[in-house]
Symmetry: C2
Subunit: 528 residues, 2 copies
C-alpha cells in the first residue's frame, strides 16, 4: 500500500483522515495490501478521463479490489462500521458519463475487475451468468469459443463490464438491446454485508433462476440498477440464438425534413414486430469522424450546406437508419420486403440496402462495417477513433434525453440539442436509439482536451442542456456524474415524490450512507 | 352503514373493536356512509368464493369503496393513524387465488371498483392508462368503440380488473401476455398517504410516461406488484397494433410422451422470435369441461385409457399446443410455414392447423373458439363453464409452478402434479403457459363445493403441493391466500434473504403495518 501526497489529502465529507485510514487498514488486512491502492497514479486511472486537469472534486481516496463476494462483504461491513463512503465500479469504463470517478470526492472506489468469471453459459435456454469483472469482449470470445450458437447484446465498445453496463441501463442493438430488461437473477451484497438473490434465484432449488422474469412477491431487481442500494456481484442475462439469416439493413434519407416520416415508419415496423432489435438513426459525424478528424472535412461551422457536402462525400443521407433482422431465411426475406415497402412509402427518395448473410457467416469480411456488425453482438473499438474529431486528445460527454417515439418529439429534441451545442461552439452530433414507443437521443458533446476552455464549455453545456431538456419534457435516461443532481431535479412530480421515496429506501437499507452517495442524485440522510 | 352480527365480531389481530370502529367512522365521514359497508352480505361477496362454508378466517370486517385518489389517501392515512389493517382489491375477481378475501381476518377491504375511468388511450404510440376499477371487458369495448386498431392482452375471463390482474403478475396470451412486463408508469398511494409516480411519469413534463421502460435511478415499479407496499391507483399498459393478419395455430400431438419434444420445438420457435406471444400447451379436460360435466365423460378415475378415449372423442391430441402469429401477410405466411416445419419435425405424427384471418375480420364467426380468439385479446366467460366439471357448484384453485423451459422439467412438473392431485382424488388438469425460457404450469384443482370434504381436500392438497413443488425446484409464480406463507418459505436462499430484505422495506415504507399484512408472505414487524 503506497501512499502518495495527492490521495492522502482526499478525505471524504464528514469523515476524518484517521477514520478513513483505519478503514483502509482493515480492508488491507482482509484483502491483502496488493488489493488496496493509494498511489497517486490511481487518481489518473480512476478519475473521469475527460474532465478538466485542474479539477479534483471527483477523485477517490483509494481503490480496493476485492477478489470474491466474501471480500466485497468484508469491505462493506468495514465501511458501514466506520461510515466511510464507497463507490463501486467494474471495468471503470463508464466514459462519457464520468468514467471511473466517484460522485463524492474522497470515496473509496471498490473496483470489481478481479471478479471476472463467466459462471455459466446455458446453451439450451440461452443465458449467461457473469461476475462484474467480465468484459463484453470476454463474453463474446467465450460464446465464440463454444461454437457461436449464441449471440450477446453489446454496446459499440467491448472493453466495458457486462454487469456495469447492464446495471447502468446500458443500451445495445439486438433484441436484448435494452440490457436491463434482459436480466433475470441477480446476486447483491447489501450495505450491511448480507447477500441477496433475486427472482427465482431466491429459491435454492429452482432451475429457473435466470429464465423467469420474477419470483413470488415484489420484483426488486430494478432497485439495484442505476442504484446505490447494493453491490451487484453476479447477474444472469439472456443471449440470442444465432439466426439462420442475419440481415443488417440501412435506409438513407436525403433531406433534413425526412426525419419525422422516417421515425414514424420505423415505429410502424417496431410496433408490428417486424423489427425486433434497437435500430439507430444517425447523422453523419460519427461516420466522418471514424475516417478522419474534423480538419479533414471542415474549416468553419457545420452549416446545413457543409453538412450536405460531407454527407454526399460519404455517400450518406441526411439521416441514416440502421436496423437488423434475425431469423429463418424465409421469414427474414419476407420481413426485408416489408421493411423496404414501409420505409420507401414514408420517404420515396430514400435508399434501402441490406446485407442478408447466413448466421454462421458473420465476420469482418461479410459485414465489413462496425455499425452493421454490432447488431450481431460484435463490439469493436472502432468508435474510439471518432473521439479524435477535434484533436488527438479528445473527450466526450453523452447527453441522452428520452422522448415518446413520434416524429414531432424526435425533431424537437434535435432542435434543442443543436441550439444548445452550437451556442457553445460544439458540433451537433445526433444518434437516436429507437424502442417501439420511445427513443433515446444521444447527443455527443465531442471536445478537444488540449484546450481547457473547451473542457469547461463542454461540462457547462452538459448541465445547462440537462435542465433545458428536462424542462421541455425530455429528461435523460443515464447521467454524467456532474449532472446527476440536475437530472434528478427533473423528476419533480409531486415535490419530487420519487426521489423522496428512494431516499427513504436508501436510509432504510444503508443507514450509514456508505454506498455510492449521490449516485443518480440519491444522497443518504447525512449528506442531503 | 349497516352493522350486522357477523362482521361486528371480526376484529383484526392486535386491534380493539373500538379502534376499528373509530377508523371506520372516520372513513365514513370522508367517503360517505354509502361507501363504507358493514353488512353481513359483504362477507359473502368479499370472501373466497370457493372456500369452506364454515371457515371465517379470511373474512373482512368491512369494505370501503373510495371514489378517488384523494379518498384512497384519506383511507390509508386514517388506517395508519389507528394501525388498522387494510386489504386492497379492484374488481375482487382473483378467483382461484382467494378471490376478494383478505389474508388477515378482520382487515378492512379497500375495494377500488368505483375508480373505473380509462384515462388515456394513445393510438399513436399504443398504450392505455387505466384506473383499478376498469375491467378487461370495459377496456376491450373501449378499444373496439374507437375502431379496433389496438388490441389489449387479456386473461381468459374478462370481468376482472386490468390493474388487479397486472399487479398480481397475471398472464395473457399476446406479445404482452406477461402483463407486468407491459407496464410503464404507475401511480401509487403510499401507506403514509403520499402519492408517487414511477419511471418517466415522475417527470411532470415528459410525454414518455407510459412508453419508456424506466426513468433515472432505481426502477421501483416491480416493488408495487405482488406487493403490500402501496396501493396502485393508475397504470399505463402497452397494447398491440391490429395486425394485417392474425393467425391462431394449433398442433395436436397424439402420445403422452410427445410432450418433451413438443416443448423443445416450441422453445425453438419462441427463442428465434417466430412465435412472439404466450403459447399454451393443454391437455383435454378444459375442452371437455367446457362442453359437459365430468359425468358425461367418465365414470371412474381418469386412467390413461380413459384419457385417450375422451381425447379421441374430442378429436384432440394427448397434448395440444396453441399459439398465434401477428403481422403483415407475407411475414405471417412465412412464419406459419416455419412453425409447421419445426413442429412436424419434432413430432411427425402431430396435426398442424391454423386459421389466418385479416386483423379487421376477427370475430366469433371467423374464429369460433375462445382459445383461438383470446390470443387476439378477446376474453369471454366461456371458461366459467369448466368450473362445473364436478357439479354445478364448482370451485377451483390454481397451482402454478414455474420451471425452466426444457422437456424434462415440464414432464417432471406434470408427474408431481398428477401424483399429488390423483392421490387426493382430483383430476390432473394441466395447462402450460410458455415464455421463451420458462413455463408456468397451471394445475387446476377443480372440486365440487357441495361436498365440504372435497373443499378441505382441495385446500389441503394446495399447500402440500406448493411445498413439494418448491422443494423439487418449482416454486409457484402466484399464490392462493392460504398458501402464501408456504410459498414464501420456498424462496429460502441464504436463510430467506429475499423475504428478510422485503420485510425491511415493508417496515420502512409502512411502519404501522397497515397495508395487506401477510400478502405474498410479507408481514409487518408486529405480526411476524
Amino acid at each position: 500500500m503506497i501512499t502518495d501526497g495527492i490521495v492522502d489529502d482526499l478525505v471524504p465529507l464528514g469523515v476524518t483522515r484517521e477514520v478513513r485510514d483505519a478503514a483502509l487498514a482493515e480492508m488491507a488486512e482482509i484483502l491483502g495490501d496488493a488489493a488496496v491502492h493509494r498511489d497517486d497514479a490511481l487518481v489518473e486511472e480512476f478519475r473521469d478521463p475527460y474532465d478538466h486537469p485542474e479539477w479534483d472534486d471527483h477523485w477517490p481516496a483509494a481503490v480496493v479490489q476485492p477478489a470474491s463476494v466474501e471480500e466485497v462483504q468484508a469491505v462493506v461491513r468495514i465501511a458501514s462500521r466506520h461510515g466511510v463512503p464507497l463507490w463501486t465500479n467494474s471495468q471503470a469504463k463508464n466514459n462519457g458519463y464520468g468514467g471511473a470517478a466517484p460522485r463524492l470526492r474522497g470515496s473509496i472506489t471498490v473496483n470489481l475487475r478481479r471478479m471476472n468469471r463467466i459462471l455459466e453459459v446455458n446453451e439450451e435456454l440461452g443465458y449467461v451468468v457473469v461476475e462484474p469483472g467480465v468484459t463484453f469482449y470476454e463474453l463474446v470470445d467465450e460464446l465464440a469459443r463454444r461454437g457461436g450458437d449464441w449471440w450477446p447484446s453489446t454496446p459499440d465498445l467491448g472493453w466495458g463490464s457486462v454487469v456495469g453496463n447492464t446495471v447502468d441501463h446500458g443500451v445495445g442493438y439486438t433484441e436484448f438491446g435494452d440490457h436491463a430488461a434482459s436480466v433475470s437473477g441477480m446476486e447483491i451484497v447489501l450495505p450491511d454485508g448480507e447477500l441477496l438473490r433475486t427472482g427465482m434465484w431466491a429459491s435454492s432449488t429452482s432451475a429457473a433462476a435466470h429464465v423467469h422474469p420474477r419470483g413470488f412477491g415484489p420484483d426488486i431487481e430494478g432497485l439495484f440498477m442505476q442504484s446505490n442500494l447494493g453491490i451487484v456481484t453476479k447477474l444472469g442475462r439472456r443471449v440470442s440464438p444465432r439466426p439462420e439469416v442475419y440481415a443488417p439493413l440501412r435506409f438513407h434519407v436525403p433531406e433534413k425534413d425526412d426525419l419525422a416520416p422516417l421515425v414514424e415508419a420505423a415505429r410502424t415496423l417496431l410496433l408490428e414486430g417486424t423489427i425486433r432489435n434497437i435500430p439507430v438513426i444517425g447523422g453523419i459525424l460519427g461516420t466522418a469522424a471514424m475516417r478522419a478528424p474534423r480538419t479533414a472535412w471542415l474549416d468553419g461551422p457545420l452549416t446545413d450546406d457543409e453538412y450536405r457536402r460531407v454527407a454526399d462525400e460519404l455517400d450518406m443521407g441526411w439521416w441514416n437508419l440502421r436496423a437488423a433482422l434475425y431469423g429463418p431465411a424465409r421469414v427474414v426475406e419476407a420481413q426485408l420486403a416489408r421493411c423496404e415497402e414501409v420505409l420507401r412509402a414514408a420517404v420515396p427518395a430514400g435508399r434501402f440496402s441490406a446485407i442478408p448473410v447466413a448466421g454462421t457467416d458473420v465476420d469482418e469480411r461479410t459485414i465489413p462495417l462496425h455499425p452493421d456488425r454490432v447488431q450481431a453482438g460484435r463490439p469493436s473499438q472502432a468508435l474510439l477513433k471518432s473521439i479524435e474529431w477535434r484533436g488527438p486528445d479528445g473527450g466526450h460527454i453523452e447527453l441522452s434525453p428520452v422522448g415518446a417515439l413520434t416524429g414531432e418529439h424526435v425533431v424537437r429534441v434535435g432542435q434543442i440539442l443543436r441550439e444548445e451545442m452550437e451556442a457553445s461552439g460544439f458540433d451537433f452530433w445526433p444518434s437516436i436509439c429507437l424502442t417501439p414507443r420511445s427513443f433515446i437521443y444521444l447527443g455527443v458533446i465531442n471536445f478537444d482536451r488540449s484546450d481547457p476552455e473547451r473542457i469547461r464549455a463542454a461540462y457547462d453545456l452538459y448541465e445547462r442542456a440537462v435542465r433545458r431538456l428536462g424542462g421541455e419534457g425530455y429528461p435523460v435516461y443515464r447521467g454524467h456524474l456532474r449532472g446527476m443532481d440536475a437530472i434528478a431535479d427533473q423528476f419533480d412530480w409531486n415535490d419530487h415524490a420519487y426521489r423522496r421515496f428512494v431516499q427513504g429506501l436508501k436510509d432504510a437499507v444503508d443507514p450509514a450512507g456508505i454506498l455510492s452517495p449521490g449516485k443518480q442524485g440519491i444522497w443518504p440522510q447525512r449528506l442531503r
